[in-house]
């Protein structure tokens, strides 16, 4: 990967920058999302933009791509001032964007997706022929192999991303914006993406890479800009900086990138899963014959590419989905197996707590006030009011206590949950689930969309839970996080556990397992 860094610098003096933002300023009502942003992205370089959530990265790129208009400021593309009022204008100016969540029509083929919006007439025949020819050329030039007739929904995520890149290139993009492109990729797929980006750079294209993974920034970018609270706080050549410096610039203070923890002292087994199999309503096997155990005082991490059964595993253990077969026991009590599988409310009674992977979809009701979310799932507790009634005072007092304990900001339990930042929303969920002193804690994506400062806090809390003798199951798509937190790592692929490794195992090896390749067979 490192071979690509360093080239393409230095032409900036002769040719105008590919993108130049001058004094961009944007407010949403009273929120100042971008303050006086000045940014030069040289042609033929890969430029990284890092920053915490809510730092204004997405807003800035949305301005560049025409989703929003800046209140003031100017955009120059290749030295020429442009007025970008919509994504069509951005495409005309040669700017393409690959979104974090793909904008693809899944039942359509690759070809149809690429053609979408530029069909070139009421009848498709001519358009199809043109796209087919063009795709061949792009494939040759950038090593972007994709079968044009494959149905997009059936492609692996890495290939779907390639379709997005092809879409942008087909529309004549000279500058490509990638928003958190590696979040859904295996390490191998990410490497392949970086090779494609390097190829793009070699062909003179410009790439803007938005990410929060400092490792990627160090590996592939030529220059990097750090954003904090709506401002660009520094822009430096990548080889002149270190991850620690970047992290400090992002947060505005020193950050611990590693998790400090003592060795685990596992006790008796608190969660046991035996031969668990789960088939969904379409009859597709999502989990097959999964068996493992977690002991008191131990964190077990599940590594795997998103969509290999981790979500289903969490939801089956938490009682949200009923297993097709197999046995689960929480703290020695069977919760699924011979009889009826217990429901989420009953499982809470057994000492199981669950921080779901997606707090917006499942963990929170974002339209609720904070205090209402602080009791979600525990609202039947008589402590919150006798009989059918819910005591507002009891609920709010309880919420206030946790806000203080977990440093949730702003400290206002009457605020609508949607108005909290991602990190604080995650803290609301964690506070709720941890405060019940569960025996077993399931945590999905503990720090997804959470800024660096809060990540540190959440990791510390999880370690503290472990040291208090709880059994913790962590599922995360961030391999680094799984390695940092876990005492043991289970790798999942295609609904099975394909290997168990210690957290200090070789990353390459875990990566191969995640991709479904047995390292021993490969060796």
């Amino acid at each position: 990967m490192s071979a690509v860094a360093g080239q393409g610098q230095g032409q900036g003096e002769t040719s105008p920058p590919a993108i130049e933002l001058v004094g961009i300023d944007k407010r949403f009502g009273p929120v100042h999302a971008n303050r006086d942003i000045n940014l030069r992205v040289e042609k033929g370089t890969i430029h990284g933009i890092v920053g915490e959530n809510g730092a204004g990265k997405s807003t800035l790129m949305s301005i560049l791509y025409g989703f929003y208009q800046a209140d003031s400021g100017m955009i120059r593309v290749a030295g020429r001032e442009v007025n970008i009022r919509s994504s069509d204008d951005a495409i005309d100016a040669g700017i393409g964007m690959v979104h974090q969540h793909f904008m693809l029509v899944e039942p359509f083929t690759v070809l149809e997706n690429v053609m979408l919006g530029v069909e070139g007439g009421a009848l498709l025949t001519r358009g199809i022929a043109k796209v087919r020819g063009e795709l061949k050329r792009l494939e040759r030039e950038y090593a972007l192999e994709v079968d044009p007739d494959a149905v997009v929904g059936e492609l692996p995520v890495g290939l779907q991303q390639r379709v997005e890149i092809l879409k942008a290139l087909y529309r004549g993009a000279e500058t490509l914006i990638l928003d958190e492109p590696t979040g859904v990729l295996t390490p191998a797929e990410a490497d392949h993406l970086f090779r494609i980006l390097a190829q793009l750079k070699a062909q003179g294209k410009t790439v803007i890479l938005i990410t929060h993974k400092l490792r990627e920034i160090m590996a592939i970018t030529d220059a990097v800009s750090v954003m904090r609270r709506g401002e660009i706080v520094s822009t430096v050549a990548t080889r002149e900086t270190t991850p620690e410096q970047l992290a400090e610039a992002m947060v505005g203070r020193r950050v611990l990138l590693r998790v400090n923890k003592a060795p685990a002292h596992p006790g008796r087994e608190l969660l046991s899963v035996e031969n668990l199999t789960f088939r969904d309503s379409q009859g597709v096997t999502r989990l097959s014959d999964v068996s493992f155990g977690i002991r008191a005082g131990e964190i077990v991490g599940i590594a795997g590419v998103a969509g290999n059964g981790q979500s289903e595993l969490l939801e089956v253990i938490a009682g949200i989905r009923a297993p097709s077969s197999g046995r689960i026991a929480v703290a020695g009590q069977e919760t699924a197996g011979t009889g009826r599988a217990l429901l989420p409310a009953e499982l809470r009674g057994c000492g199981l707590a669950h921080v779901p992977e997606d707090r917006h979809r499942m963990g929170l009701v974002t339209a609720f006030e904070e205090n209402e979310n602080a009791i979600l799932g525990y609202h039947r507790d008589p402590a919150y009011g006798g009989g059918p009634f819910l005591s507002r005072n009891a609920v709010r007092d309880d919420a206030r206590k946790r806000i203080e304990q977990y440093d949730i900001r702003p400290p206002n339990c009457r605020l609508k949950t949607a108005n909290f930042s991602g990190g604080n929303q995650q803290k609301i969920v964690l506070a709720r689930e941890m405060e019940r002193d569960p025996q077993v804690l399931l945590v999905g994506q503990p720090t997804r969309g959470v800024d660096i400062g809060a990540i540190e806090f959440i990791h510390r809390q999880l370690i503290a839970m472990r040291d208090a003798g709880k059994a913790i199951l962590v599922v995360s798509v961030e391999l680094d996080e799984v390695r940092a937190l876990s005492d043991r790592i289970l790798v999942m692929f295609d609904g099975r556990i394909v290997g168990e490794r210690m957290p200090d195992a070789d990353e390459q090896e875990i990566g191969l397992l995640m991709a479904g390749m047995d390292s021993k067979a490969a060796a």
Partner: protein, 409 residues
């Protein structure tokens, strides 16, 4: 109306975990919701603007038929509020609309759009009638009416139960089924009235008149204490029942565990499953309560006014309830106010049709329709503009507050 209706069984068996990552709406596309309106603008100013807009357009319509719109407004307002009998009728209609609005609102909090209040009220009237016919010769009104009340609730709830069950267990969309059940209720009642309730020797498909044993005291006497003459207005004790029902709905939705579960299901069904709330159970309970409230509506016209079961006694109040709930932001206080507005429209409109020869009965329907259109369907038309305007004049204090929130991230 965007809250999705939770589908089918509690335990999701679908493997949607895989597509979740790709199907999620991209952040960049979802433009940030413009800042929320302050409560006073949301609950008072916006509905007012909507009503004014409706009246402006109505005024144009009145102009087109060659009448003076200002004169028309004057007649309507006087007809609704200007004298005792008008007020009596206004409040009588208001009573119906409160019940219907509450029925729609309760369902809405669970993410259900109950279009069937009309039919549920109609069938509720059947329950009340059975009790009235059976007991009015034997019991005094104060014994008959509570039993009739329960019967109206039970019948209304029963009529809502089938769509609820179909939604909860089979995923049949409640909007479709409740609309269909309105037609079924209509057919059922016509059949019953024409074949069973009709008095021998009459052409009028109605039950026999109830005796004093099944009546609800009118409020004429109460108002005369204050020097007002309600005349022939059928305003009766049911209006107090409606206000009690409003309090009940408030307590239910915001002060009970059941209400909490209902709101969770309505706002985020997936989170409800996660929280161990049975969505199908909540759907059924909600619709039973909603149907019972709609059923209560029937007491007002059937026992409170006409004292017999007649064809089509609900007369569209169930549908008006949808607009009332929408305009009242599904809050009991808002619903009572919106119901009062629609009560005025009904009564004032009737007077207008009577007093202005150019303005026909159909014209009144047009005006009422426009109010429903602006307050209901086009409810959000003026919202973005108003939000921008309000934000522009927003106080510095508010800005400081938000920035403080931002800073503490």
């Amino acid at each position: 109306m965007s809250s999705p209706i939770p589908a089918g069984p509690d335990r999701k068996a679908s493997g949607d975990g895989i597509s979740a990552a790709t199907a999620e709406k991209p952040k960049a596309l979802a433009r940030p919701a413009p800042d929320k309106l302050p409560a006073w603008a949301d609950y008072a100013l916006l509905p007012l603007i909507n009503v004014v807009a409706a009246f402006v357009v109505s005024g144009l319509a009145v102009l087109m038929v060659g009448a003076n719109p200002l004169e028309a407004v004057k007649i309507m307002v006087f007809g609704a509020l200007g004298y005792g009998e008008g007020v009596g009728f206004t409040l009588f209609y208001t009573t119906n609309f409160i019940f219907a609005g509450l029925a729609v609102a309760v369902a809405y909090h669970s993410g259900l759009f109950n279009i069937g209040a009309e039919g549920q009220a109609y069938v509720g009237g059947l329950g009340a009638t059975f009790v009235a016919l059976a007991l009015d010769h034997f019991l005094p009104w104060y014994a008959t009416v509570p039993i009739a009340l329960v019967a109206a609730c039970v019948f209304g709830a029963a009529w809502a139960f089938i769509p609820a069950w179909l939604q909860a267990r089979r995923g049949s969309h409640i909007v479709i089924t409740t609309i269909m059940f309105n037609f079924l209720a209509n057919a059922l009642m016509v059949w019953l009235l024409v074949n069973y309730f009709i008095q021998p020797g009459t052409m009028d498909p109605a039950s026999r008149p109830f005796t004093e044993g099944a009546s609800i005291p009118k409020l004429g006497g109460l108002f005369s204490l204050f020097g007002a003459d309600l005349g022939a207005a059928p305003l009766n004790l049911c209006i107090f029942l409606a206000l009690i029902a409003a309090v009940f709905v408030y307590v239910l939705i915001w002060r009970t565990k059941l209400g909490y579960e209902m709101r969770t299901v309505g706002l985020n069904p997936t989170a409800a499953v996660y929280a161990g709330i049975s969505t199908s159970r909540i759907i059924i309970i909600t619709m039973l309560i909603s149907g019972a409230l709609a059923g209560l509506l029937a007491l007002n016209p059937v026992i409170g006014d006409q004292q017999r079961l007649q064809l089509n006694f609900v007369n569209g109040a169930g549908f008006v309830g949808i607009a009332v709930a929408l305009m009242g932001r599904n809050h009991p206080v808002g619903i009572c106010l919106a119901a009062l507005l629609f009560g005025m429209l009904y009564q004032g409109g009737a007077e207008l049709a009577f007093d202005m020869p150019q303005v026909s009965r159909e014209m009144i329907l047009v005006i009422q329709g426009l109010v429903i259109l602006f307050a209901g369907a086009l409810e959000h038309m003026f919202r973005p503009g108003l939000t921008r305007a309000v934000n522009m004049i927003s106080t510095p204090q508010r800005r400081r507050m938000v920035e403080a929130g931002e800073a503490s991230r």
